[in-house]
Subunit: 248 residues, 2 copies
DNA sequence: CGCAGTATTGAAATTTCTCAAGCCGAGTGG
DNA sequence: CCACTCGGCTTGAGAAATTTCAATACTGCG
């Protein structure tokens, strides 16, 4: 039986999810078993497609199986501010379990595969198993720490440092989720999207990137980010990874 | 017995805490009883005193009884970026329950009274009572929504809108916690501190405030903020309170 | 009264934005 | 196979927002 379920997409999701949660709290075999009773629904989205919209009241939580998702606010004028980006292994909207109406939207930054986890099942599991509850909770807390850094990045750093910091963060997170290849990882964002995340105009993003590129700190071509000089880039960005709580 | 306990400072804290949690999840009498077994330690802090520092591993969580606290990051150069401000009824660092090492500091913005809730006791209660756990969790989620708005505020809005938005938020939150008086509330921040929160220089804060003041939108004197024209101020700031999840 | 911290002002220096145009590469239809 | 188009990247240059520096007022408090 085990052999067969391992092959199903659901089992793959369970495995990925377990790996993630286990980094936040050590789960017992019983916990793992409980989680593997979750019935995820797998879906594909194409670049720029919205998965959940500001104002929605979803009854499932999103787990990223492949690709990259982005969370964003839509401003009155229609402008967009990206809040964070999420890669395989992330759970970008568990807050929807308790914050019933979405305060932001979630979209695919490129082709992405996600798994939808029914709220009801999650709540039920967490009611019975505090440890699982704590693991999910901690995940949202780690998320909040990333938001806090974003505040500091936007509020206190000039363009170059801002981009440098962002690149460092993205790389470390990719490595944590084991979807990086050494010092490079996918980053399927246009310069415009990057600007909408960093509070910069496209033009500034472009010029700032040239600066980082010419100095040989980083390379960013064809949706792929490669850090060539970690020390220098981290120094420029004032990057200290201790806020990226991953392992317990 | 009830009569006596009501008079103790601990009982006052329990009451305030219950009120807060009840807005996030409806607690049963048994839940309330469990919470009232918490043994808070009340402390006073003077303006600018740190309560917890970046890197600390606290074993208690802070509950604000009186006054205002601020969370902030310290940058390499010593600069400070305020992340959020907290008033009576808030729990500014429950994340420390699971994020063992503080990624930011917490200080008193003016004279403040806080209650320290032992992590151990909290965890124990939450293990037994999922609803309480969910209530605390939701509180941290509502917090994260505020961080997200801060990102948008810093990333997408010019100085005037940024300040306007901040003033609106602060007022609504004070009203939610029932520490506002109509459209005015305490805001014990200097223009410099305001700048360190809004990613602006003191000079810009000063000029921007004069603008808002001269237009008769808001008044801010002697640590007290009064909104004179809510409609206009909210319009300038692009403020929509739906992200301030308070009641369930 | 006088200090210390905070608020206010002026003016030049900087950063970032906006506008506007040109370029480049990938995919498409003829 | 090539011209064409579209989205994204790059560049130049003037405009705008914000910062910095440097003084000058306030204001509450010892």
């Amino acid at each position: 039986m085990a052999r067969r379920t391992v092959e199903t997409p659901a089992a793959k999701v369970h495995e990925q999810l377990l790996a993630k949660l286990n980094r936040h709290r050590t789960l017992s075999p019983a916990d793992s078993a409980a989680l593997s009773r979750l019935e995820p629904r797998v879906q594909n989205f194409s670049r720029k497609a919205d998965i959940v919209r500001q104002g929605d009241n979803p009854d499932t939580a999103v787990f990223v199986v492949e690709g990259m998702l982005g969370r964003y606010h839509t401003l009155a004028g229609g402008d967009r501010q990206y809040l964070s980006f999420h890669i395989a292994g992330d759970l970008p909207d568990i807050q929807s379990l308790f914050l019933t109406s979405m305060d932001h939207s979630l979209c695919a930054m490129d082709r992405a595969k996600i798994a939808l986890l029914p709220h009801e099942q999650l709540i039920e599991i967490m009611r019975r198993r505090p440890t699982i509850c704590f693991a999910f909770w901690r995940l949202t807390l780690a998320d909040a720490a990333i938001f806090r850094q974003a505040i500091t990045n936007l509020g206190s750093r000039p363009a170059v440092a801002r981009l440098a910091h962002f690149f460092c963060e993205q790389t470390v997170r990719a490595r944590q989720n084991e979807v990086a290849d050494g010092m490079s990882c996918d980053l399927p964002l246009s310069q415009e999207e990057l600007g909408q995340a960093m509070g910069l105009s496209v033009v500034s993003v472009n010029r700032t990137m040239q600066l980082l590129r010419r100095q040989g700190f980083v390379e960013f071509r064809g949706q792929r980010l490669t850090i060539k000089n970690w020390g220098k880039l981290a120094a420029v960005g004032g990057f200290d990874p201790s806020y990226l709580y991953d392992a317990e």
